[in-house]
C-alpha cells in the first residue's frame, strides 16, 4: 500500500493561529486534522503514515534546514509520496507547501500539493509537481480534498493523469512528451495542407514567454567603472575551475589587473556550441580587453574592473542564468561597477 506523508501548518494541525506561527516542525504518526478526511477518501489506495506540522513562520525563517528535516522524516517513515496542504489562499502556508514539495523532490519521491490558483506558493513549487486547485478557504475543504485524492491515487500508481484529473490541476505551462497516433512528418504535411486550404489548425509549439527587462538609465561612460562580462566561455588555459562547455552551473571571474590584452598563450575558449578557432587565435574577439584598455587610456572609459566575469550560455537554463545575474549584480554593487559590457559567443 502506498505510504503517504502529509504536510500541514500549525493552524490545520490544531496548534493555533497566527500567534503560533513560530511553532517548530514536529511529526505525528498517522493522520491529523484534514488528513482524516484524506484517509477516508483514500481507502485502500494508500495510508497516511505520518503528518508533519510546522509553523508558517518557522518554515520561512530557515527553509534549507526545514527541507533537510522533511527529507529525514520521509526517509524515516519510508514515504512513497508526499501530500502538502491544501493551503487554500494562505500565502505563507503555500510557500511552506512548496518547500515540502521540494524536499520530496530532493528525497526522490513525487508530491501533490493543494493551493488556490492565486497562491504565491505556486511559483516556488518544483516544476513537475502537480498542484491541485483548491478554494479560497477551508470552506472548500471537502471538494479540494476529493480532487487532491484523485490526483494522488493516479500519481501513486505511476499512471498518467487523465483529462478529468488534469482539469483539477493548475496549468503550469510545463511541456511533457506524449505519443501521437501519427508520425511528426505526417502531422507536418497534414497541417500544411490544412493551412494552405485555409482550414483551422493548432500549432504544437507556441512562442516562449521571456520576461521583459527594462533597461537601466544611461550612464556617463567616461566617468564610470565598467566590468567585462561574457557568456562565451573564455577561461585561463587549462580551465582551472572546470567551467562547463554547456549547461553551465556557475560563473567564474579572472583577474585582468595589469593586462591590456587577452593573449592566446594565457586564455582559451571552452564554449561547446561554437567553433572557437577565431577566439582562440585572438581572445579579445570575445572579450574586448584590448579596445577597452585603449579607451581607458584615452579617458573614454572611466575605469575597468580588475576582473572579467564569465559563464557559458550554451543550453544553460534561463532560471539558472537569472540566478547568475542576481549574484553578479550583487558583486558589481559591492565593487561599485556602474556598467557592464556583456558579450556572447
Amino acid at each position: 500500500m502506498t505510504r503517504v506523508m502529509h504536510y500541514i501548518n500549525q493552524f490545520f494541525g490544531g496548534i493555533g493561529g497566527e500567534d503560533k506561527a513560530e511553532y517548530p516542525l514536529t511529526v505525528t504518526a498517522g493522520t491529523l486534522g484534514p488528513g482524516r478526511l484524506l484517509a477516508g477518501k483514500l481507502g485502500d489506495a494508500g495510508t497516511i503514515v505520518a503528518t508533519i506540522v510546522c509553523g508558517d513562520n518557522t518554515a520561512q525563517y530557515s527553509p534549507e534546514h526545514i527541507k533537510q528535516e522533511i527529507v529525514a522524516l520521509l526517509e524515516q517513515y519510508e514515504a512513497d509520496i508526499l501530500v502538502a496542504g491544501p493551503a487554500f489562499s494562505s500565502g505563507r502556508y503555500g510557500l511552506a507547501c512548496a518547500e515540502a514539495a521540494e524536499a520530496a523532490q530532493i528525497y526522490g519521491i513525487q508530491s501533490v500539493v493543494g493551493m488556490h490558483p492565486e497562491n504565491p506558493g505556486i511559483d516556488l513549487c518544483p516544476a513537475d509537481v502537480m498542484i491541485v486547485k483548491a478554494g479560497e478557504s477551508a470552506v472548500d475543504m471537502a471538494a479540494s480534498m476529493e480532487h487532491l485524492c484523485r490526483v494522488l491515487v493516479r500519481q501513486a500508481a505511476g499512471e498518467p493523469l487523465g483529462s478529468e484529473e488534469l482539469a483539477y490541476c493548475i496549468k503550469r505551462d510545463i511541456r511533457c512528451n506524449t505519443a501521437s497516433r501519427k508520425k511528426g512528418a505526417t502531422r507536418a504535411v497534414d497541417m500544411l495542407l490544412t493551412k494552405i486550404g485555409g482550414g483551422k489548425f493548432e500549432s504544437e509549439q507556441l512562442p516562449p514567454h521571456f520576461s521583459r527587462i527594462e533597461p537601466a538609465p544611461p550612464i556617463e561612460v567616461p566617468l564610470s567603472k565598467i566590468a567585462l562580462v561574457s557568456t562565451g566561455g573564455l577561461v585561463p588555459k587549462g580551465n582551472p575551475d572546470r567551467l562547463e562547455a554547456s549547461s553551465a552551473t556557475k560563473w567564474v571571474s579572472y583577474s585582468i589587473a595589469g593586462r591590456a590584452s587577452l593573449t592566446p598563450e594565457d586564455f582559451e575558449c571552452i564554449h561547446g556550441g561554437i567553433d572557437v578557432t577565431h577566439i582562440n587565435a585572438y581572445p579579445n574577439r570575445l572579450i574586448p580587453l584590448d579596445i577597452c584598455s585603449e579607451f581607458r587610456a584615452k579617458g573614454l572609459i572611466g575605469a575597468l574592473d580588475d576582473e572579467y566575469y564569465v559563464t557559458v550560455g550554451n543550453l544553460t537554463p534561463v532560471a539558472r542564468a537569472e540566478q547568475f545575474a542576481i549574484e553578479l549584480t550583487a558583486r558589481f554593487r559591492e565593487k561599485e561597477v556602474h556598467g557592464v559590457l556583456l558579450t556572447s559567443s
Binding site: 490541476c169 511541456r175 501521437s180 507536418a188 582562440n280
Partner: protein
C-alpha cells in the same frame, strides 16, 4: 531471374526513380553473403576484410541486433540503409563515385527495414567540439524512441588507429559505413524485389496548374565544424540553397557527417528514407498535392547577415518552384532555430505557407522556456518532443559499440547497466525530420 514478374506501377513523372524494396525479415551472420526469401545473411569476415582494406579501419567488430533483443548499441556515429544501383549507377555520390545523371534516376535496390549502424569511440575535442553520445536500445522503454529500435541492425564497431585524430576517425567510419551499405545491398542484385515504388516529381506544365497545392521541402543540414557537418555529393553544405530532386536523396546525395546531440541528428538513413519525402510522395500519389522538389540548405550559419541571406534565398527558390507551401525541417538545436525561423519568416513574406518541425529542449522538468528564436509568422510548428526528458533504461544482456559510453554526457558506468538518460542521448529520438511519434504538449 525474371524481374518482369515483380509488381509495377506506372506514372508520368520526371526524374523518376524505381525503388526496389527488399524487405528484410531477418538478418544473420553466416558463411556466405546472400539474399534469400527475406533473409539477409552476411559473411562478417569478408565484410570486415573489405572495410579494413578500403576504409582504413584498424579492426572491426560486426554484430546483429534485432528488435526485441535485450541489447544496447552505444557510440553510434551514423545509420545507413543498404542500397545499391545496378548497371554502374551511382549511390552515395561524392564518396563512392562521381556524381552523374544516374543519381535519383533509374533503379535503386534498398534493403528495407535494415540499417547499418556504424559505431566507434571518438574521444577528444576539435576546436572545443566533441562527438556526442547516440545510443539505441532494442527492447524496453528505450526502444519506444529511436527509429533504429525497429530496424534489423548490422552493427559495425570500428577500432581506430591511435594516431587518427577525431576528424580522421569519423571520416574513416563514414566511408566504412557507406561502403558496407553498398556491399550488403549488392546481395540483392540478381533477385526480384518484394515491391517496386516509383517516385518522381510532376512534369512541368504536364497537368493543369494549381489543381492541387504545390509543396516543397526545405531541408537544412548542420554545418558547424569538422565533427558537425553534412555532405551534398561529398562536399560540405554551403549556405547557398541548392535545389535537388527528392529521388536524389534516395540515392544518398546527402550524407551525414554530424556527430552532435544524438536525438536531433539527421542520420544518413533519414535522408535516404526521409519521412517528409515519403509523406509528400504518398500524398502526391493520392492526388492531394504536387511535390515540387527539395531545397537543401545549411543551418547554424554564422552571423545575422549570413542567416538572412540564406533564409531569403531559400524562400525565393521555393517561390520560383511555384510552391504554395513548404515543410521546413532542421538539424540540432540552439541557433539552428534562428535559421529555421528566419526561413519561415521569409517564406511567409513571399506568400509561401510554412510548417516547421522542431524538437524542444524544455529541461528535465519541462519548465524551461522554448527556443531562442521564434518568428511571429511561425504559426504552424510541429513538436517532436522534449529531448531533455529523462528516461530510465533497464540493464541489458548485450552491449555493442563499446563497453563504455562516450560523448558530451559521459556516462561513468558500464553501458550494460540500468541507467537514467535524457532522450538527447537516444539516437534520432526527437528527430526533426519527423521520423517519430513523440509530441510535446503543455500540461
Amino acid at each position: 531471374m525474371n524481374l518482369a514478374t515483380a509488381p509495377r506501377v506506372r506514372s508520368n513523372l520526371v526524374h523518376q526513380l524505381e525503388l526496389y524494396n527488399y524487405t528484410v525479415r531477418d538478418l544473420r551472420l553466416g558463411e556466405e553473403t546472400n539474399w534469400a526469401e527475406g533473409v539477409l545473411t552476411v559473411n562478417a569476415e569478408a565484410l570486415k576484410k573489405h572495410l579494413i582494406a578500403e576504409a582504413g579501419v584498424r579492426r572491426m567488430g560486426i554484430a546483429v541486433a534485432r528488435p526485441g533483443e535485450s541489447a544496447r548499441i552505444v557510440n553510434i556515429l551514423d545509420a545507413i540503409e543498404p542500397r545499391v544501383k545496378p548497371d554502374n549507377g551511382q549511390i552515395f555520390p561524392g564518396f563512392l563515385g562521381a556524381m552523374d545523371g544516374t543519381v535519383g534516376r533509374g533503379v535503386t535496390h534498398a534493403l528495407n527495414g535494415c540499417a547499418v549502424l556504424i559505431c566507434g569511440s571518438v574521444p577528444g575535442e576539435v576546436a572545443s567540439q566533441v562527438v556526442s553520445e547516440a545510443m539505441v536500445d532494442m527492447t524496453g522503454p528505450g526502444a519506444r524512441y529511436s527509429p533504429f529500435s525497429r530496424t534489423r541492425n548490422l552493427i559495425l564497431w570500428c577500432d581506430f588507429y591511435d594516431d587518427h585524430d577525431p576528424v580522421k576517425r569519423v571520416s574513416v567510419a563514414r566511408y566504412a559505413g557507406l561502403l558496407a551499405a553498398r556491399w550488403l545491398a549488392a546481395a540483392t542484385l540478381d533477385h526480384a524485389p518484394d515491391e517496386i515504388r516509383i517516385y518522381g516529381v510532376p512534369e512541368n506544365n504536364s497537368s493543369p496548374k494549381k489543381q492541387v497545392p504545390q509543396v516543397v521541402y526545405i531541408c537544412p543540414g548542420m554545418l558547424l565544424s569538422d565533427l558537425h557537418q553534412t555532405f551534398l555529393s561529398g562536399s560540405a553544405l554551403t549556405s547557398t540553397p541548392t535545389v535537388v530532386h527528392p529521388t536524389q536523396l534516395m540515392d544518398g546525395l546527402l550524407v551525414s557527417g554530424n556527430y552532435d546531440i544524438g536525438a536531433t541528428r539527421n542520420p544518413t538513413y533519414l535522408y535516404q528514407r526521409s519521412p517528409i519525402v515519403e509523406e509528400l510522395f504518398s500524398y502526391q500519389e493520392k492526388g492531394l498535392l504536387s511535390f515540387m522538389g527539395v531545397i537543401v540548405t545549411k543551418c547554424l550559419i554564422e552571423g545575422f547577415f549570413g542567416k538572412q541571406r540564406s533564409a531569403y534565398l531559400a524562400a525565393q527558390t521555393a517561390r520560383l518552384l511555384d510552391a504554395d507551401g513548404v515543410v521546413i525541417s532542421i538539424e540540432e538545436c540552439g541557433h539552428a532555430y534562428a535559421d529555421q525561423m528566419l526561413t519561415c519568416q521569409a517564406c511567409e513574406e513571399m506568400g509561401v505557407k510554412t510548417v516547421l518541425i522542431m524538437a524542444e529542449s524544455a529541461g528535465a522538468t519541462g519548465a524551461k522556456p522554448g527556443p531562442i528564436a521564434f518568428a511571429e509568422a511561425a504559426d504552424a510548428v510541429i513538436s517532436v518532443g522534449n529531448m531533455d526528458e529523462v528516461v530510465s533504461l533497464p540493464a541489458v544482456e548485450a552491449i555493442y559499440g563499446g563497453p563504455w559510453s562516450c560523448g558530451r554526457w559521459m556516462m561513468e558506468r558500464m553501458a550494460l547497466e540500468a541507467m537514467e538518460t535524457p532522450l538527447a542521448n537516444i539516437f534520432a529520438a526527437t528527430s526533426q525530420m519527423g521520423a517519430g511519434r513523440l509530441k510535446g504538449e503543455t500540461r
